[in-house]
Point group: C2
Chain length 369, copies 2
């Protein structure tokens, strides 16, 4: 099915791309003809045929800083296909360097300091804001970074932790968990759980939250599943941002927002390859890998964030509904026009401050002082 | 810009449609070629080119009843273009008959009775469930139906009111407001406000909510704007379902979900024509017509509902964010795979019960007893 879909798609694209810009401008096919061909293509039950589209930037209530991200070309690595551990590492290192280059300015601007440490043998960063409000003095957040279980090693892990510390006024521990190609599942989860198990010994979990975006969102959910199964304390709240809740290519927006999302673009690029590398033969429906297949009963209050163009829009809303169905307090925030995780890429965008402020308010409401 | 987009789209479609099913099956264009052509088509800032797609039904956590709706062909009237008042009326009557035919079974199944009345001279329906829970005895909901300001006259107005009464155990007044072609803006809003002004004389607004879907969602928002401006009491909560908050063709999902949503399909069909018929020369940015341009400060707690394929996904999330930015309690629920308003089309779908139960719980939380 997938194959034949791509075949049809490809021909449509190839044909359209073959038209020169001049030819396009000279062609005027009336809307009514499009409506007729679309109606004919959609006469069959169970599938939806959408035409080739050119989608402009969303309207001017989106900030210029966010529009610059929304309208950007696909990232150069979207279809990366590393053939060996060495090729993966080269790609991972290259991207990490880009992320790390931005960190000094980010720390400076948001007024946070970063220290390295080991917790239960796991490399971590302690991210502390210059000012911690009184109500947050005894509160502690644990951060698990995103990056498809491959990107974001070392200091590249911490941009989101810096934003949460800076905008929210919280002390944050960011876990630099082990990743493929050297350490597939369950290393990342084992590291995150080792840190959790250690920090709850000396901190009251009623004053703690776990958060993370994308892969970090999936890990946040999976950590609560494991805490339940291992009879460990659970956090008082969680913020899985656009969580990779289904690591398999399952969920409506994997199709409807494919090639529309300009961050992840498609599951069939590096993303699905990273999924398989991480799972390393484990079922993609293992709830510690795809937490959407876990039991959400007893989960703490949860705040979720996504965008209308997000490839993980369905991951996010499926998680939200499943939480609600399990009786969990769950708050959903979807941003106009944003692709995957764009609410946490640029501290100059007002939507970034907005997203982290919303999460901070949610934590403030649900965490003990 | 719109014209040239449609031109490109049309050619893509025409080409794809021209391929016979057999030819499609025989063609195998590799994914990597698609990735290359898409990357090339997306090398420019400020626009997103998405290829022709065939999207299958979402996964099996969606109920069979909902999947039957999600996978259905476009409605026959999606591109209706009535050329006269008589042609509009013929279309409106034809669709009303279909809606009305389902009402007796719906009343029976949900155990509600319906009476006609006039309130402040406006034709209304009083929809009463057989059992009203104690906490709802003194509560009253006002319903404004959907239908693009043209569809849903008379008894065709009430299916959603029946669902709310039946699933929520509330007494509901459904306003059969005047509509085009005979009565353009502001007749619909004037009728709804006349009813509101009258019922708050004898009912405590702290025990009242307003709700409606699509056009009814926009009217719900616009009624609060008018209540503010006219110094009338405001309801204690509102439930604008997938509100037509921007009646103009503005909002990202008008493009990203165009031809993906199988209920409204495109703004350029009957929908945009109805918008212009209703506005009747008024600005489409008049906040009583497009409430997204109003001031949401002081709004009551609001619950919003939409779906990932909804043409009004952006209308819904723009409204949600604007409410949050104004400091309003606002709850957002997005259903996997649903097109516009599909959560309120079939009482046999579990998602329908779920959506109305969520709204009822929200009202229960925010309305005085």
């Amino acid at each position: 099915m997938r194959k034949s879909r791509h075949a049809v798609v490809s021909l449509g694209i190839a044909f359209a791309v073959a038209l020169s810009a001049a030819a396009r401008a000279q062609t005027t096919v009336p809307y009514d003809e499009l409506a007729r061909t679309e109606a004919a293509a959609n006469a069959e039950n169970g599938k939806r045929v959408a035409p080739l589209k050119s989608i402009g930037n969303p309207g001017d209530e989106v900030s210029p800083e966010m529009l610059a991200m929304i309208g950007a070309p696909y990232p150069p690595h979207f279809n990366a296909d590393p053939k060996s551990a060495a090729e993966w590492k080269e790609l991972i290192d290259r991207r990490a360097k880009l992320a790390i280059a931005n960190i000094p300015a980010m720390k400076e601007k948001l007024g946070v300091k970063v220290e390295e440490t080991k917790i239960a043998g796991v490399h971590c960063f302690i991210v502390t804001p210059a000012k911690i409000p009184t109500e947050n003095r005894r509160r502690l957040l644990v951060h698990v970074h995103g990056g498809g279980y491959v990107f974001g090693p070392g200091e590249a892990a911490i941009p989101e932790a810096i934003m949460m510390a800076g905008y929210g006024g919280f002390k944050v521990i960011s876990v630099d968990y082990r990743m493929p190609p050297d350490f597939p599942y369950p290393a990342a989860m084992d590291d995150a759980m080792a840190v959790w198990k250690e920090v709850v010994k000396t901190n009251d979990p009623r004053r703690m939250a776990i958060f993370g975006t994308s892969t970090g969102g999936a890990m946040t959910l999976a950590m609560v599943l494991r805490a339940k199964d291992e009879k460990l304390p659970r956090p008082a709240a969680i913020a899985p941002g656009t969580p990779w809740a289904d690591i398999g290519n399952i969920g409506d927006s994997y199709e409807s927002n494919e090639w529309v999302d300009n961050v992840l673009v498609t599951w069939n690029g590096w993303l699905g390859r990273a999924a398989k590398l991480y799972a390393n033969g484990e079922s993609l429906k293992n709830p510690y890998i795809s937490p959407i297949y876990g039991d959400f009963k007893g989960f703490p209050p949860t705040i979720l964030t996504s965008g209308t163009r997000d490839l993980f829009l369905s991951n996010t809303v499926r998680t939200h509904r499943k939480l609600r169905r399990a009786g969990v307090v769950a708050d959903l925030n979807i941003y106009e026009g944003q692709s995957h995780a764009q609410y946490q890429f640029n501290i100059s965008a007002p939507e970034t401050r907005e997203a982290f402020t919303d999460i901070a308010k949610f934590f403030d409401k649900h965490l003990a002082e």
